[in-house]
């Protein structure tokens, strides 16, 4: 059911360049990109229940590995692959260290990873250009053609992340991760290899971020440390997954789509207040949508609404009668 919906949604997004302009295509790229990031986060944050805030570190490293490989003369596709593999290896090594932490300590550690990678990239000026950033070779073609190509690639990444989610969900790995989420000690006791499972989830959560980062770098043509390793990004992505429903299959896609559209709307209309409005959305989400959009029982909600409406109607009718 949700698989069919995601396929239809992907096709609809892919058709946007045929029917709409460059602006809409750009938004579609953002939607696909953040969907892929939120799906990645879902492996470690949703299935496993580890509060990871390392997304921006993986994304930023992907940007830089991709950009540096392209500047070294490699074709874009090869650079993207190198970034994916590089970030996955980084996550595997890192995971072996920081996945020993739990709860608050893990959260703080994963945020610190973003800061450390950003600081190293920005002070290693001879290679990374430091605070000046890096120019990335532009893709050839008219803006329309390039945007459409980037959109298809981002959608392919999103599709890949979704397929990986479905496979993990139906495999031993997904089952083990859910066990870890519920009770790690008990999972360990009944024979789940918790360390390996957690590292697998962490690597899965990094891999697509690295790829997305490298494609993003090719798309925008210029990257710098503050933009690539932003704390805002690292919190925004989990918020998207939570908005849709963490641990569900399609939740991150729904959340990313809704969030990007809301953000676009607020950027366009309330430029000065957009940060506060996003903050209000987060607060609202925590209090009123703790399970995400997909976990609302829409049938019950509709029943409640219609019950209210008929109650209102009977009220107004009786008022009208009283007046008459």
């Amino acid at each position: 059911m949700s698989i069919a919906a995601v396929v239809a949604y992907t096709i609809a997004l892919a058709l946007i360049p045929q029917f709409a302009g460059n602006y809409e295509t750009r938004i579609a790229i953002s939607v696909a990109m953040f969907s892929a990031l939120a799906l990645s986060w879902n492996f470690i944050g949703g299935f496993t229940g580890y509060p990871s805030f390392s997304t921006a570190a993986f994304f930023g490293l992907g940007c830089y590995i991709g950009a540096l490989s392209q500047r070294a003369g490699l074709p874009a596709e090869a650079a993207w692959m190198i970034a994916t593999v590089g970030v996955a290896a980084f996550a595997a090594a890192l995971g072996a260290i920081i996945l020993r932490l739990k709860g608050h300590y893990f959260a703080i550690g994963s945020i610190a990873i973003v800061e450390v990678t950003r600081l190293i990239i920005s002070s290693w000026g001879s290679v990374t250009g430091g605070g000046d950033g890096l120019n990335v070779p532009l893709m050839t073609g008219t803006p329309d053609v390039v945007a459409a190509r980037i959109l298809y690639i981002m959608l392919a990444v999103m599709g890949g992340a979704f397929v990986a989610t479905v496979i993990v969900d139906r495999s031993r790995l997904g089952f083990g991760l859910r066990c870890i989420h519920q009770n790690e000690d008990a999972a360990d006791m009944v024979g789940v290899d918790t360390t390996r499972f957690k590292i697998a989830a962490f690597v899965l959560s990094a891999l697509f971020c690295g790829l997305v980062g490298a494609v993003y770098a090719s798309w925008v043509g210029y990257i710098d440390p503050t933009d690539s390793f932003s704390i805002l990004l690292t919190v925004k992505v989990p918020v998207m997954a939570l908005l849709g429903g963490a641990g569900t299959l399609a939740g991150p896609i729904v959340g990313a789509g809704v969030f990007v559209l809301l953000e676009e709307f607020f950027w366009a209309n309330f430029l000065q207040w957009n940060r506060a409005i996003l903050g209000i959305i987060i607060v609202f989400l925590i209090f009123f949508l703790p399970g995400g959009l997909l976990k609302i029982r829409y049938k019950n909600l509709l029943k409640k609404l219609s019950a209210n409406r008929s109650a209102d109607r009977s009220n107004t009718v009786s008022e009208g009668e009283a007046k008459g």
Partner: protein, 286 residues
């Protein structure tokens, strides 16, 4: 540069770091909440001090208690209205909530105060001993930071509310059974955390320029100090703050100021893995 100068700079910086981190450590240790608002509280304290000083000319040390009380009220209200509702939820929820609140506060500050760096200029001159120099405003800042830290220590050790906070930190359920109103204690604790942040901000505004762009930097310092020193105790934050100040000062001189911050974070990651309770932390508050 002289060794004494480097050490002195480190200690002055370290006292300020301790003051920054102490409220954060208290909130984390007692409420089990990572307070992403902490950096903004500090900057808000700094801005309130600057503007009050700028428009009334009142000496900032006299303003400090009022700024701190205003921040206490803000912290109390935020905890009472919002964070108490989800205080037992997993860290993902509470961290995200405080981040959302931080975005709102940050936005309000940039709109009403703008991001221009502001600094209270006291022009107190500089002390010199041989070739070691110490600006008097920094000395004053350090003294204030240490006095505030000592005051908080006394409150936690000696007062009724301090004992209640420690009791809740040790065992929430048992404290509730002993007749302590846990949610009330949470609100007061969060208020005290904000108060210390506001006071630290007021001190900072006298020593360095403050701007909203620094909220993340201060928050990062609070993370590092808490992990180095250990959670939930005043001496822990003091030790962590002084350690970070000295490390940054020495590293800044030997390998450059930009890398000094990286060294602090790397040390923190190392300690997280090998000794998550910190140098003098208490076990069991994960």
């Amino acid at each position: 540069m002289d060794v004494f100068q480097i050490l002195l700079n480190g200690i002055v910086l370290g006292a300020l770091y301790a003051c920054i981190a102490i409220g954060f450590s208290l909130v984390w240790g007692v409420l089990n909440v990572i307070n992403m608002l902490h950096g903004s509280f500090i900057i808000l304290g700094g801005y309130l001090t600057y503007f009050a000083w700028h428009y009334t000319g009142i000496y900032p040390i006299i303003l400090l208690p009022f700024v701190a009380l205003a921040l206490f009220a803000l912290g109390y209200v935020l905890q009472h209205l919002f964070i108490n509702k989800v205080v037992t939820a997993p860290v993902l929820t509470t961290l995200t909530l405080t981040f959302g609140l931080d975005m709102i506060l940050y936005n309000l500050m940039t709109v009403f105060f703008t991001a221009t760096p502001r600094r209270v200029t006291l022009d107190l001159g500089t002390l010199s001993f041989g070739d070691v120099y110490l600006p008097i405003d920094r000395l004053l800042g350090m003294a204030l930071a240490l006095v505030l830290t000592a005051l908080l220590y006394l409150v936690m050790r000696g007062s009724r509310i301090g004992r209640a906070i420690v009791a809740v930190r040790m065992d929430r359920q048992a404290a509730a059974l002993m007749g302590i109103r846990v949610n009330q204690v949470y609100s007061i604790t969060f208020g005290i955390g904000a108060l210390m942040a506001g006071a630290a901000g007021a001190i900072f505004a006298m020593v360095f320029p403050v701007t909203t762009n620094l909220t993340g930097v201060f928050l990062g310092k609070a993370f590092v100090v808490c992990v180095i020193g250990g959670l939930g105790s005043v001496p822990g934050a003091l030790v962590g703050g002084l350690a970070l100040g000295l490390i940054e000062s020495v590293a800044g001189y030997t390998i450059g100021p930009q890398n000094a911050i990286t060294v602090g974070f790397l040390l923190m990651l190392f300690l997280l893995v090998v000794r998550p309770t910190g140098l003098i932390g208490v076990k069991g508050y994960e």
